[in-house]
């Protein structure tokens, strides 16, 4: 993995200011660290030599105060930059996913991890690792440069020994790689045991198996302890070795300085300065190593998110969907057609849809067929939410009511106006409310909403009012009614409704089909009878040759 990925700056312009500020602060902090060595040396020399201490004392206080200000600012800037970058990455990621068809998005589990913890772990990567990285680059350079001017012998020692640090780190890492990987694996599977058992506790309690797990938990946790400590032993040993290496390197500087001081060939001021500056070349490098270890998750997550944001991820659709632009005159009927359409789910062995050619004329089309025949898939393809694997689709923009329509834990009004892009103007509120009421009336749910404590402003969901599946389905239909899209796609619109409402909603669907293209998936014979056009899809036959 690279120490820093410049793609971050390109993909997230918001990160530039923060990263730039961190770099500048790192240079200032490094300079102040060197300045501190100078002023402290002067102070010690003044005190020891019985000279006036006030000038060097003031200088020490000024430099340390400066360092205090710089490190406070760095901490603040770093925290802000971390939050800014991680939130910007999540926003870019979700915005990108929302513009892509379902089959061009990563698998659900992976997507969820990236969108939740993945984006969050980028925060410490930026807030802690990047400042350490800056210090790790700036301070050794400044320290060596200064030493060259102060005492070239010490500079030589440092220049020779500093590269040993990363070299040793790499060597130790290489030598212990297998053992570490093996132990982490054991350790991780043992670590997961407790979480697994606790998450399954309701099941264990239900079947009377909970109590006997207690002893297993104790045993597995002890095994986990032993495995983890073995892994940590290697990690701690290598960091101790690096620290020892750094200490020994400074000791070499100290010995050469001490000898020259003792035989009088060097001034106290120079010797003390060399001793105080040389450690500054070593510790920042060790800190980068430690912080990199902590930020590894964040670096990996950032890498994956940036890969997702790269143009043209995933498979390029074999055949582009033809989208007809909305036309001003609604009198011209829209042309909706699929030709030789085929669709295979990513990773599936058999196609879900194969060589389907159909027209969907103005009015109501009902799609029927056995379950698993790809009816819902066909609707999603018509809506442009999936790219066909083969064939072409010609369709205008559509509003699709899925089987599990999305309802947010907001108010009834918010749910009805989801997708209505423009924020509503206060003066239009009355008109809007009238439209909402009419829509609710059309789907037979207005009475329910009027009976709610806050009517249209009642909160729905876990914290608020619960709706039955039928009520939710009707709310989603009301929303579809309000949508401006010229094509409506309805997936099992009456599956959850009782018999009384079914007839009413079926009548509504036929009304809607008068000036829009309406395509519905339904098992209901009544709706099929109302349709101008019926499409029956069959499961794609299993291929003999696979």
């Amino acid at each position: 993995m690279r120490p820093f990925d410049p793609r971050l700056l390109r993909a997230v312009p918001e990160s530039r200011r923060g990263v730039g500020a961190l770099a500048a602060l790192g240079v200032i902090a490094g300079s102040l660290a060197i300045a501190q060595a100078f002023t402290v040396t002067s102070l010690v020399v003044a005190v020891v030599g019985g000279m006036p201490v006030r000038p060097s004392l003031l200088a020490v206080v000024a430099v340390l105060t400066g360092r205090a200000l710089v490190s406070a600012t760095t901490e603040w800037v770093a925290a802000r930059a971390g939050a800014r970058v991680s939130t910007a990455l999540r926003e870019r990621l979700l915005a990108s996913w929302l513009t892509r068809p379902a089959d061009a998005r990563p698998a659900q589990a992976q997507a969820l991890t990236l969108a939740t913890t993945g984006a969050t772990t980028v925060e410490p990567y930026v807030a802690r690792y990047l400042p350490a990285l800056v210090a790790g680059v700036v301070l050794p350079v400044l320290a060596v440069g200064t030493l060259l001017l102060v005492d070239w012998v010490s500079a030589l020692v440092v220049v020779v020994t500093v590269p040993l640090l990363p070299l040793f780190a790499a060597l130790i890492g290489k030598a212990t790689e297998d053992a570490t990987a093996r132990r982490w694996k054991t350790s991780a599977s043992l670590a997961g045991h407790f979480l697994d058992v606790v998450r399954g506790l309701p099941t264990l309690v239900g079947y009377g198996r909970a109590q006997r797990q207690a002893r297993t938990i104790g045993e597995v946790s002890q095994r986990h302890r032993r495995a983890t400590v073995e892994t940590l032993r290697i990690a701690f040993l290598s960091s101790a070795a690096l620290e020892l290496l750094a200490t020994l390197s400074v000791a070499v500087v100290a010995v050469s300085v001490g000898i020259r001081l003792a035989n009088g060939s060097m001034a106290l001021h120079t010797g003390l300065l060399a001793i105080l500056i040389s450690p500054e070349a070593y510790w920042p490098i060790r800190r980068v190593g430690a912080e990199f270890h902590n930020a590894a998750d964040g670096a990996a997550a950032a890498d994956q998110i940036l890969a997702e944001l790269d143009p043209a991820p995933g498979p390029v659709p074999a055949s582009p969907t033809v989208r007809e632009t909305p036309r001003a005159a609604s009198t011209t009927p829209y042309r909706v057609r699929v030709e030789h359409l085929g669709y295979t789910y990513p990773g599936a062995e058999r196609p879900t849809l194969e060589d389907l050619t159909e027209d969907f004329p103005q009015g109501l089309t009902v799609i029927t067929g056995p379950s698993g025949a790809g009816k819902s898939t066909l609707l999603e393809i018509l809506a442009g939410l999936r790219h066909p694997t083969s064939g072409t689709v010609t369709a205008p923009h559509a509003h699709l009511v899925t089987q599990t329509p999305f309802l947010t834990a907001g108010t009834v009004r918010e749910n009805l106006t989801l997708g209505a892009s423009q924020p509503t103007d206060a003066e239009l509120d009355a008109a809007l409310d009238a439209a909402l009421d009419a829509a609710l009336d059309a789907v037979d749910i207005r009475a329910v909403v009027t009976a709610l404590p806050d009517k249209l402003d009642t909160q729905l969901g876990d914290a608020g009012f619960g709706l039955s599946a039928g009520q939710r389905a009707r709310l989603a239909l009301a929303r579809a009614l309000l949508a401006p899209a010229p094509m409506l796609l309805l997936d099992e619109p009456t599956a959850h409704l009782d018999e009384d409402s079914v007839a009413r909603v079926h009548a509504l669907i036929t009304t809607l089909a008068q000036d829009r293209v309406v395509v519905a998936v339904s098992h209901r014979a009544e709706l099929v009878a109302l349709a101008e056009h019926v499409v029956t899809v069959h499961p794609a036959p299993a291929k003999a040759s696979r």
Binding site: L57, T87, A95, T228, V229
Partner: protein, 557 residues
């Protein structure tokens, strides 16, 4: 403080003291180096420097070696303590499961509890050890400098006092800022998860812009809280460094007049460098304070969860220990039939919630009842009472003809199998996942149960059959397969009463209907009560009622 005392096991205190020696070595290394350099500059005979050279070398080697010993030792002690606390937490969770873990997303509640425990124990390594180490080093420094020059000891004591004050202030500030920060990040994560898992449904209704607006709102809160947290950390750091500035100045002022009289030049160098060396050794304190605040919040949440009263009492009057020998051999309890008679049963989920209207119904053994109704109508609460997860407030519940309050909890629960909408698959083989419902079951019985749950074809497609590894690190299963495995488990248990709490809530229409149809077809020999907010696919049930019908008061007389 009580949390820290609680976490300070003897092994950990030992680690802290070893860490203190490592920190002291670091401070001594810098201080004695200063002494050595100044002494060397007076051009003495090299022999007179030997003791100091040995000291410097010893401190230089001792610091990494002691640090290594401390880290291994403290991690070992913390993991041992984690093992012990896990068992304790588990034992405390058992009687609270499931009714006191919330009504939905129990696995989230349980996951947070596991993470919280990790955070609490983490404080042993990240708080207890560094604090003991820092205080030890500071104590040694006070004594050593006071021996050399009493006033210098006072200056170092001042440094320690300032550190303690800043730590106390930082702990207070961090506690509130961390809560806000964690809440903001959790909210942003929730929006992220909501949008990700509903991406297609959001696109279907053109609500992409709305989704991104929710995300932006959650994110502005994340950025605000992160800024606050950064300011607090920054102020803490600045305080530390200003303390170093003040103490270095103070040290120079008390040492300078004494040079040549009570202290030598080399000792003066040693004293002046001590505050700076202490500052280097205590840079871990702000992180320790942050971890402390985190552990304290986690500990508070855990206590709140674990200190609840169990929702059921045993017939003997004792609090439930729901396991028992009675079901551990896995044989179906033959004594109880599956008939259910509920008369004016009043339930409430939690004492803080309103009681639900009384419910009355009667179900002969082997009958199948489906209860539908809107969210919040009390379906799940009724099912929890039927499953003996909560005690009835009033009215009676006869299971197999006997009042459940007159029989041991083990007996009642041993007659009931419950499947909810988030069944758990353990990280184990398919066989073990099923056998936990009846340990004595043979492979033939397990395969029969899977077939009854509609998984015959799925099972036939598994290369490793019953040895297939499931759960984390195992084979992925779809939501439908997961629900069916849970049903197979319940069928295998042979328990006469089967309770289903929205078992197909997360499945699509076709799968949901198929799962329920398979279930009603194959469980003819047991009583089934299912609650569902959807009213489709219930053809196989003997009775389908709305919750409100059960709640209607009985006609008088």
């Amino acid at each position: 403080m009580s949390l820290i005392r609680d976490l300070s096991t003897p092994a950990l205190v030992r680690s802290g003291l070893i860490g203190g020696l490592a920190t002291t070595s670091g401070v001594a290394l810098t201080a004695t180096s200063g002494w050595l350099i100044v002494q060397a500059s007076t051009m003495p005979a090299i022999l007179t420097l030997l003791v100091a050279i040995v000291c410097v070398r010893t401190f230089g080697i001792a610091r990494p070696v002691l640090r290594y010993v401390e880290r291994v030792h403290s991690h070992d002690a913390a993991l041992a303590s984690l093992a012990e606390r896990r068992v304790r937490m588990y034992d405390a969770l058992v009687p609270l499961t499931p009714a006191r873990l919330g009504r939905r997303s129990r696995s989230d509640v349980l996951t947070s509890a596991v993470r919280d425990l990790d955070d609490v124990v983490d404080a042993q390594v990240r708080v207890v050890v560094p604090l003991i180490a820092a205080l030890t080093a500071a104590g040694v420094a006070i004594v050593a400098t006071a021996v050399l020059l009493p006033a210098a000891g006072l200056v170092v004591a001042g440094v320690v006092a300032s550190m303690v004050v800043s730590a106390a202030l930082a702990l207070r500030a961090e506690s509130s800022s961390q809560v806000a920060g964690l809440e903001a990040r959790a909210a942003a994560s929730r929006v992220g998860a909501l949008v990700t898992s509903n991406a297609t449904d959001l696109q279907a209704i053109d609500a992409e812009a709305d989704a991104l607006r929710w995300l932006a709102a959650a994110h502005s809160e994340v950025r605000r809280t992160a800024g606050t947290a950064g300011r607090i950390r920054g102020l803490g750091l600045a305080w530390q460094q200003l303390t170093t500035a003040a103490s270095t100045a103070g040290m120079a002022l008390v040492v300078a007049p004494a040079v040549g009289t009570t202290v030598s030049g080399p000792v003066a160098a040693l004293l002046i460098l001590t505050p700076l060396a202490l500052a280097d050794a205590t840079t871990t304190i702000p992180d320790a304070i942050g971890a402390w605040a985190r552990a304290r919040a986690a500990d508070g949440r855990l206590s709140e969860l674990l200190s609840q009263e169990p929702a059921v009492k045993d017939a003997t009057g004792a609090t439930s220990r729901d396991d028992g020998a009675a079901t551990d051999d896995g044989g179906p309890p033959a004594s109880l039939g599956g008939s259910v008679r509920v008369d004016q049963l009043v339930t409430r989920w939690h004492p803080s919630r309103p009681a639900l209207p009384a419910v009355t119904f009667d179900l002969a053994a082997g009958q199948h009842l489906a209860i539908t109704g809107a969210n919040g109508s009390g379906k799940s609460t009724l099912l929890a009472a039927l499953g003996r997860h909560i005690d009835p407030e009033d009215g009676t519940y006869l299971l197999g003809g006997t009042d459940v309050l007159d029989m041991p909890l083990v007996t009642a629960r041993g007659a009931i199998a419950l499947v909810d909408d988030e069944p758990h698959l353990f990280s184990s083989t398919l066989r073990e996942n099923l056998r936990l419902a009846r340990p004595a079951a043979t492979d033939e019985e397990i395969e029969a149960a899977l077939a009854d749950a509609g998984l015959q074809v799925w099972l036939a497609g598994l290369p490793e059959r019953l040895d297939t590894w499931l759960g984390s690190g195992g084979r992925g299963v779809s939501g439908g397969e997961r629900a069916r495995i849970a049903l197979a488990r319940a069928l295998l248990s042979g328990r006469p009463l089967l309770l289903l709490d929205e078992p197909v809530a997360h499945l699509d229409h076709a799968t949901a209907v198929a799962v329920i149809a398979d279930l009603t077809r194959t469980s003819t020999d047991r009583t089934v009560v299912m609650v569902s907010h959807r009213s489709d696919g219930l053809d196989g049930f003997d009775r389908v009622v709305d919750m409100t019908e059960l709640q209607e008061p009985r006609p008088p007389g």
